[in-house]
Symmetry: none
Subunit: 256 residues, 2 copies
C-alpha cells in the first residue's frame, strides 16, 4: 500500500516513537531531539536517563527542537516504556544469541511504515553512548535495525544513529521521485527547433570563419557539433543566450 | 549488468571524493572524516580551510579516522580542487537562480555510482558551517544533492550531511545496475579543466566582442554560461572541437 505523498511533519503524529535507553549526557539527548526533528519525527521517550529529568543541558542543546524535549515521556524501565507499543525495532549490531530478524535501515523504515499504516504504535530503541543496548534490552524488540557501517571503523554516535533512522523513515514517506522545486522543472527545455536555429546560425558563422577544413571532413564535423549541442540539453534561456554568443562573435568585419 | 555485492571499503578507492569548501572549525573537519569512514569513504579534499593546514584539532577529532585527514588534499580554490573531476554534485538546498537538476540523496548516490562505474572521478561538495556553499561554488557543479529536511526545522550540521551522503553511497554499493549499451561508455568525458579552459577562452572572446552588457549583468551572464557548458556533459572530443569553434570565431581583427 503506497502512502500518499506527505511533507516532513505531516506524518509526525504517526511516526515511530524514538526511545533512548539509559542515555548519559544531556547534550546528546538534545542532539538526538534535533536529529529527529530534521526529519519530522517528534515523539521521544527516555528510559532511566543517567542524570535524571528534566535535564537543562538537553533542553539547551535541543534549542529550536525544544518541543521534542518538552514532550518527551520518561520511564524507569524499558518494559514500562514499551507497554503500549505493538512493534519495536532495536538499533544495534546484530546479536548472534538472539533469534531476531536483522534489517537494514531502509528495510526497517518500510516495515515500520506498514505497521503505522495499520495503526500499530511503533518504537525504535537507541542505546546509551557508552555501550549501546544491552542484550536484555534488545530481547524486548521484534527486530533489529542495523546500520551497515564499515567493520573496520564504526563510530556512529547516538544523534547520528537517530539521524539515519529518522532520515530513512522520512524518505520512505515520499512517493515522488524528484524533490519538489527542481529548477529544471521550471526551466523550459529548448525545443528541437530552437537548437536547430542555434546550430544553423553557428554553422553559417563557422563557414564564414573558414572553420570547416578540410572540406571532406565537413559532414563529420557538422554532425558532431549538432550532436553535442542537442545532447547538451540546454534550456530555452540557455539557447537564447548562446544565440547571442554566436551573434556577438560573428558580428565582425568580413575577412579579407 | 549487475556488479556483485561489495562490503563498505571494497569500493573505497572508487568512492566519490568529499570536498569540504571553506570549512571553519578543525573539530568539524575531523568529525566529517569520521562520518565518511563509517561508510568506507576515504578521499577528502579541503578548499581554503579557515584555520590553515595541517590542523591539529582536525587530526585529534578524527582520531581513528586519522588516515582520512592524513590523506586529505588541500587546495586554495574550488576550481583547482575540481580540475581532475568529471562529475560534481553540490550538497545544498536547491537554488532557483541556477539551472541545475536537484536530486534526493539516494538518487544522487545512484547517479554517482553509474559515473564511478564508467571510471569518472566524482566529487561531492559540502559547504562551511556558517553559510554553506556559495552560489558561485554551486555553479561549479553538475547537479545538486538536497537532503530533504523538515522545512520547519532544518539543522543538519557538516558531519551529519557528510554522514547521510556517505551512508547513501554505501547503501547503493550493495547492488549496482549498469545501463546496457551506453553509447557514451567509449567516449572520455571532458575533465573539468578542459571545460574551464574552453569557458575562459570563450569569456575572453566575448569580452573582446562586447557581449557582456550591461556591466552589472556580467556576473550573472558568466555564471549561467558556465553552468550551461558544465551541465552539457561534453566529451573530451567535443570540448576540443568547441575550443576550435571559439578560436575560429574569435580570430578576427580587433574591433575599432
Amino acid at each position: 500500500m503506497r502512502i500518499s505523498r506527505s511533507r516532513a511533519g505531516e506524518l509526525a503524529g504517526a511516526a515511530p516513537i524514538f526511545v533512548l535507553v539509559a542515555p548519559q549526557m544531556g547534550e546528546n539527548i538534545g542532539a538526538a531531539a534535533r536529529a529527529m526533528l530534521n526529519f519530522g519525527v517528534t515523539g521521544m521517550r527516555v528510559v532511566a536517563p543517567r542524570d535524571g529529568w528534566p535535564n537543562p543541558k538537553a533542553a539547551a542543546m535541543a534549542s529550536g527542537a525544544g518541543a521534542v524535549i518538552d514532550g518527551a515521556q520518561i520511564f524507569e524501565t524499558l518494559d514500562a516504556a514499551l507497554a503500549d507499543c505493538a512493534y519495536v525495532v532495536a538499533t544495534t549490531a546484530r546479536r548472534r544469541e538472539l533469534a531476531l530478524p536483522v534489517m537494514a535501515p531502509a528495510e526497517a523504515a518500510a516495515a515500520l511504515h506498514a505497521r503505522v499504516a495499520r495503526n500499530e504504535r511503533c518504537a525504535v530503541l537507541f542505546g546509551g553512548e557508552r555501550s549501546g543496548l544491552s542484550t536484555d534490552d534488545v530481547a524486548r524488540a521484534d527486530a533489529i535495525l542495523s546500520i551497515p557501517v564499515n567493520p573496520a571503523f564504526a563510530s556512529i554516535n547516538l544523534a547520528q544513529a537517530v539521524l539515519v533512522v529518522a532520515y530513512e523513515w522520512s524518505r520512505a514517506s515520499d512517493t515522488v521521485e524528484m524533490p519538489a522545486g527542481d529548477p529544471l522543472a521550471d526551466e523550459q527545455p529548448a525545443s528541437r527547433q530552437d537548437v536547430a536555429y542555434l546550430y544553423e546560425h553557428l554553422e553559417a558563422a563557422l563557414d564564414r570563419a573558414g572553420y570547416f577544413f578540410p572540406p571532406e571532413m565537413r559532414d563529420t564535423m557538422t554532425r558532431n557539433l549538432r550532436v553535442a549541442l542537442t545532447r547538451a540539453g540546454f534550456t530555452e534561456n540557455e539557447v537564447r543566450s548562446l544565440r547571442g554568443v554566436v551573434k556577438a562573435l560573428d558580428k565582425k568585419e568580413d575577412r579579407a
